[in-house]
Symmetry: C2
């Protein structure tokens, strides 16, 4: 068998569906968009959809399925959202209750599925332009920080913007803005460049999630909206039930990152 890194998105989803891959998806199916998953009962769906519409940088909607639908149409034609993600987190009233490999037994006819863009897409574009990504160089998880910027609330959903940080040499900052701005449906351009205290971040060495990375002398910290934001916001609302992917264990789509670019 070819190695996992040679497989197509569909082939990887079949492995995942059969329970034969339950590890993180970073680096798999290079070139194809991966997506964050949020499943909520219908009674929360309008407010959450509106929240995503109002906050497109942290919550870039790639696909939303109607109530009860578990087959994707846009991101892949054959995928089953109940089985095709390596690991799921089950939250009840905001508490993580379990981590599981499939959710067929949990599925209900009023579940609404949201698939949101992920920064893997623009990181690939940055690397293609020889812009270094420190957490990849250091084989770490990207550092994430809770800012003092509020998302625009929608119905019962509200909360702070969570950001990722990538330190860049000053001569790479403009190009990084230009490249990531093309990917509006996967977080888009940065939300802040430079002084972390201006967005309420006290200490870059102590991220809220993920790992701290080395910031070399003269490098500029650049901040992008992060897909952890919608999950953090959902947890505040403490819905009866919410199912997400387990961080890093994403949905792998058949859509090329390049197809998501604005221009």
């Amino acid at each position: 068998m070819r190695g996992i890194h040679q497989l197509t998105p569909e082939e990887i989803r079949i492995l995942i569906r059969k329970g034969r891959w339950d590890k993180p998806t970073a680096g798999l199916a290079m070139g194809y968009a991966q997506a964050n998953l949020v499943i909520l009962p219908q009674k929360y769906a309008f407010d959450f959809l509106l929240f995503c519409h109002r906050n497109p940088k942290p919550c870039p909607l790639l696909e939303v399925l109607e109530s009860g639908q578990y087959r994707t149409k846009f991101l892949a034609s054959d995928a089953d959202i109940r089985t095709d993600i390596p690991r799921y987190n089950i939250y009840r009233k905001g508490n993580l209750e379990a981590t599981v490999k499939e959710i067929k037994n949990l599925w209900k006819s009023d579940f609404v599925t949201f698939l949101l863009g992920c920064s893997f897409s623009f990181e690939e574009a940055l690397l293609r332009s020889k812009i270094p990504i420190r957490h990849i160089e250091e084989n770490k998880n990207v550092p994430m920080y809770i800012t003092d910027i509020s998302c625009k609330p929608a119905g019962s959903f509200h909360g702070p913007l969570v950001v990722t940080m990538r330190p860049l040499p000053p001569d790479k900052v403009v190009r990084a803005v230009q490249i990531t701005s093309r990917y509006a449906s996967v977080h888009g351009g940065p939300i802040h460049i430079g002084d972390p205290s201006r967005i309420g971040i006290k200490n870059l060495k102590k991220p809220g999630f993920g790992d701290p990375v080395t910031i070399r002398k003269g490098e500029i910290p650049v901040f992008w909206a992060c897909g952890v934001t919608p999950q953090a916001v959902v947890m505040r609302v403490k819905p009866d039930l919410c199912i997400t992917h387990t961080p890093g264990h994403m949905f792998i789509s058949d859509v090329l990152n390049e197809e998501l670019a604005v221009l």
Copy 2:
């Protein structure tokens, strides 16, 4: 008093609110975005929001208000959606029942308001680049056509894409694509260039709505998604009640067209 064309968006909205302006809004508050209005009872709101998300070219959402809310936040800070539009169409079960100057008496606490982008925004940008717009030159309504392209359905909402057509000299087509592509939240780039029969349009001289315009020898018809699409789609669903603006009688916002540009 200054002429209507010298007034700010807020000043015009106050005139409209007082019932002193109930005519079309084309050419008013130049530079500021105008918006299409759709108001639906809550029970239709998730499906319609999802329809707009899936069909961003014909249905570019500028602002959506929570159930019962009639004050805008993003497009203007002071506006009252029940009074600040010159004329409203009241549809019951898909039939036009009345055209009125305000809807205070009709307002219900489960009404959800959708404001959608309008091609006035990109037409201004085209004119600034010396790209001629025939229906403006001929003082007509833009010609609109029903295509054989289906919108992506969402819940009970479905229907064909409606487009506007502007004939352009061949040497202006590329620039027109570039300019309108910047305005992704107001219909964006064209959906088709050239042969109308490829999108199911039989006769350019017989538009489905609006007026036919002169197409000079050698000119290329260029087609953009049209804001009539969501209204046509809503009419198919025949909701108990739907309130829209009367065509041409738009909501005038405080947001500059330039603020809506992608890059």
